[in-house]
């Protein structure tokens, strides 16, 4: 497998060499001469899949070639990341990079299988969805300091649900515990659905959740929204404080981006980045992203690379400090 991949790398780079040297402009125009695949590490219907399909629906206009979304699920998306890390850097195998499959997952589930930074070429960040801190309405917390006061007075009494060990909700909770200096019970579930149900039923006391999962329950009065985990208050909820106002620097958000294997030719990266940025500016795409509760957050490949690296460093620190372990 690896030998084969290496050989393919070699052949690909060898064959690209004379072209790149002699006819860079021609090579650049010529790039998509066959369909492009975007691999997604998560099942269809989820946020990551929706993002991938959104981009895949618009890219063919720009590339002049079909773009296929393939769901390669498993091990919090890291099976997919592993495939992309070992794919030929020819621009025909791309990945919808996601916080779980490309930052937290590689640090926990697939530790050592691939390098989450050096095995990938960042192309463009697509969107960011902040997490929200919600609790069961049986509690009447006024704000985050009030919650912390209660948790300090009753160590270990409050429980928070997550969609699994090493999930972003789990990490958000552990980060909160560490920074606020409180003790709370982590109750992992298999997937977001069960965790949502448990908080509606009051089996657990609170959870960190994406906007899309949280808002319907909050609007129906089943949950209470206490704070958002974005770096500042969200424009849509000006009266809801950000956790960072109480715990400076606290910021947990899901992010989505486009990436490829390491050593992806610069021209291809630049081309795809420009295409993605143009797509994100289209009004219907912007609206779709809004429906998915994601903030458009694009920029250069370099900006994405810096962001990605920072995220991995941040979560590595958190995982070590909170002693989170997974396979």
């Amino acid at each position: 497998m690896t030998i084969d991949a290496k050989r393919r790398h070699l052949i690909a780079s060898l064959s690209a060499l004379p072209l790149a040297a002699a006819l860079p402009a021609w090579a650049q125009e010529k790039y998509p001469s066959k369909p492009v695949k975007i691999l997604v590490g998560f099942p269809p219907g989820g946020g990551a899949d929706a993002m991938a399909r959104l981009v895949a629906a618009k890219l063919p206009e720009k590339l002049g070639q079909p773009v296929i979304v393939e769901n390669k699920t498993g091990a919090t998306g890291t099976i997919c990341s592993d495939l992309v890390a070992k794919a030929a850097p020819d621009g025909y195998t791309l990945q919808l990079a996601h916080i779980n499959s490309n930052a937290i997952g590689p640090l926990l589930v697939s530790k050592g299988r691939f390098d989450p930074i050096n095995d990938f070429t960042p192309i463009a960040l697509i969107g960011i969805t902040p997490q929200m801190l919600c609790h069961h309405p049986k509690y009447k917390f006024a704000d985050v300091p009030d919650l912390i006061k209660y948790a300090k007075a009753n160590p270990g009494k409050l429980s928070f649900a997550s969609s699994g060990v090493g999930s972003i909700q789990h990490i958000a909770g552990e980060a909160f515990k560490l920074q606020a200096g409180v003790d709370m019970l982590h109750v992992p579930f298999k997937g977001t659905g069960d965790a949502i149900a448990a908080l509606i039923a009051g089996d657990v006391d609170m959870t960190f959740s994406s906007t899309g999962s949280a808002m319907p329950q909050v609007n129906a009065g089943k949950w209470k929204l206490l704070a958002v985990c974005s770096p500042r208050r969200l424009p849509a909820f000006p009266n809801v404080p950000a956790v960072t106002e109480t715990l400076p620097g606290y910021e947990i958000s899901t992010w989505y981006g486009l990436a490829g294997p390491a050593r992806l030719p610069k021209e291809i990266v630049a081309r795809l980045n420009a295409d993605v940025q143009a797509i994100l500016k289209q009004p219907d795409v912007a609206k779709r992203l809004q429906d998915l509760d994601a903030e458009v957050s694009s920029g250069t490949p370099e900006q994405f690379a810096t962001f990605w690296k920072k995220e991995i460093e941040k979560y590595q620190k958190l995982i070590t400090a909170a002693r989170i372990e997974a396979a």
């Binding site: 219907g45 429980s159 109750v187 659905g193």
Partner: protein, 500 residues
């Protein structure tokens, strides 16, 4: 009379020409993929999801829902004809349905399956229309402790599932439990029995196991027999449709299966699989002559088929009233709603009554279409059995492999299914029933997860299992069942049945 007004609104939406058409496309596709082993509603819905972008949201959801419950109809077809569960919830149908087919009664089995499913679908649709919000509240009353006790009850009931020795049944359940442990432990995040393979981190797929153990092994067993023997049962086909006597015999099992399936479908997690297993167990327990089960008892087809279809319908309740998916297909439906700009959640009933009631009405319309579609098809399916096995089995194998591959686009799963085919073949040689293994496999992980969650939330106090009324009731019933199985008179009867 709100209900009538709402239903009028619903049928107004469902009976527009275009929505009838999308509903028909949905149930037709559902039937087809249900018939094709392994290609389940999840793969189909995900493939079609992008295609529905251009449709109005209500039409798209009506079509996608049709695929889901249509698959429950189609899933029984191959289970009965060739011992291949088209859907996981049809595993139990294999037990008696396939035996009926071997006796030349394939048409009857397919007929009661279709009619039972229609009855169950209609009742369950009525339940959703009339009582969805209170039923959803009821489901939320089920805490982790209650789930655990329900699973205990289910496993104990599984012992009566097997015909033959209790020891072998228990051994199969335990093996199923062990296989269920493969993968990431929910509480600690540690991978168990994964041998360092990332593919095993999420555990084994029940589709892979069922396909291998039932489908592949049956093919090997068939090929092993001489050509003469193999052809016998396919040539003596009598009674294309169930007669009045059959229908009478199936009336109560269908009703009981519908009730059980409707109840279990509301609870997240179990749904159709649990419904069909428990309906079968119940019928066997109630039957005057339980030894008929596993040898072509018509009730053994009617009850689980009604149960799985009822459960398939009622599993829409948590989705439509709370926005919570009760299984992976429902999670996909949530994805579909979001893509169409509909926010699933508790407010969907008031915010989008056209969608809520339109979908409910379309479910009934769809069920009617399914029965009209399926009854005439029976003759065709039965004819399929007369095709020479030499041509039939390569086709079955190919479809199985495509199906298994499509679960997560991994060739690795196909190899795994082949391995389970070998294991299933050894089970045939050892004369052990694989059905309890599958039940153990489904229930085991849920049982462990809820046991540990209940204890986590009670801070380690085991009293939660007896202080919660639902949990206590279930445990009392389970204890009663144990006594029943252990009682000497029953043991004697079981052994007699085994020696036959």
């Amino acid at each position: 009379m709100d209900l009538l007004n709402n239903l009028a609104l619903g049928f107004g939406v469902a009976l527009t020409l275009s929505n009838i058409m999308y509903c028909f496309i949905g149930v037709l596709l559902g039937t087809l993929i249900g018939v094709l082993p392994g290609i389940g509603p999840i793969a189909t819905i995900s493939m079609l999801l992008p295609a529905t972008f251009v449709l109005p949201p209500v039409s798209a959801l009506i079509m996608l829902a049709g695929i889901y419950y249509g698959a429950q109809y189609g899933g029984s077809t191959t289970a009965i004809l060739v011992n291949l569960p088209g859907e996981v919830s049809s595993v139990v149908t294999c037990l008696d349905g396939y035996q009926m087919a071997r006796q030349g009664n394939a048409g009857k089995a397919l007929g009661v399956a279709a009619l039972g499913s229609f009855f169950a679908g209609s009742v369950a649709t009525f339940l959703i229309a009339g009582f969805a919000p209170p039923l959803a509240e009821l489901a939320l009353k089920f805490g982790p402790a209650d789930y655990f006790s329900l699973m205990v009850l289910g496993l104990i009931a599984a012992v009566v599932l097997a015909h033959g020795s209790v020891v072998k049944a228990v051994a199969m359940i335990v093996l199923g439990l062990l296989l269920g442990l493969v993968g990431t432990d929910v509480n600690s995040g540690v991978a168990r029995y994964s041998f360092g393979l990332p593919e095993l981190i999420d555990g084994l797929g029940i589709g892979t196991i069922a396909m291998g153990m039932f489908g592949f092994s049956e093919i090997v067993r068939n090929l092993e027999q001489g050509e003469e023997e193999r052809e016998v049962f396919t040539k003596s086909i009598t009674g294309l449709l169930p007669n009045l006597q059959d229908l009478k015999q199936c009336a109560w099992p269908t009703i009981r299966g519908t009730i059980l399936g409707s109840m279990l479908g509301i609870l997240p997690g179990g749904g159709p699989v649990l419904g069909s297993f428990s309906a079968y167990t119940l019928e066997k327990k109630l039957a005057k002559d339980p030894s008929r089960f596993g040898k072509g008892a018509i009730e053994g087809v009617a009850a689980p088929e009604s149960a799985n279809n009822a459960a398939a319908q009622t599993s829409f309740i948590p989705l439509l009233t709370l926005g919570i998916p009760s299984n992976p297909t429902m999670a996909l439906m949530i994805g579909a709603m979001i893509i169409h700009g509909i926010q699933p959640g508790p407010q969907i009933m008031t915010a989008r009554p056209d969608l809520f009631w339109g979908m409910i009405a379309s479910m009934w319309v769809g069920n009617l279409m399914l029965v009209v579609l399926n009854l005439p098809l029976i003759g065709m399916w039965v004819k399929l059995l007369t095709v020479k096995y030499d041509y039939l089995f390569p086709a079955i194998l190919i479809f199985c492999c495509i199906g298994v591959y499509s679960i997560s686009n991994a060739s690795y799963d196909v190899l795994l299914a082949a391995l389970f085919g070998f294991i299933g073949y050894s089970f045939i040689k050892l004369e052990v029933e694989p059905a309890p293994l599958l039940l153990g496999f489904v229930l085991g992980p849920m049982m462990e997860e809820n046991l540990r969650r209940a204890l986590l939330l009670s801070r380690g106090d085991p009293a939660v299992f007896v202080t919660r009324p639902i949990s206590l009731t279930l445990l009392v019933i389970a204890t009663f069942l144990v006594i029943l199985v252990a009682a000497p008179s029953i043991k004697k009867r079981r052994e007699e049945a085994f020696q036959e």
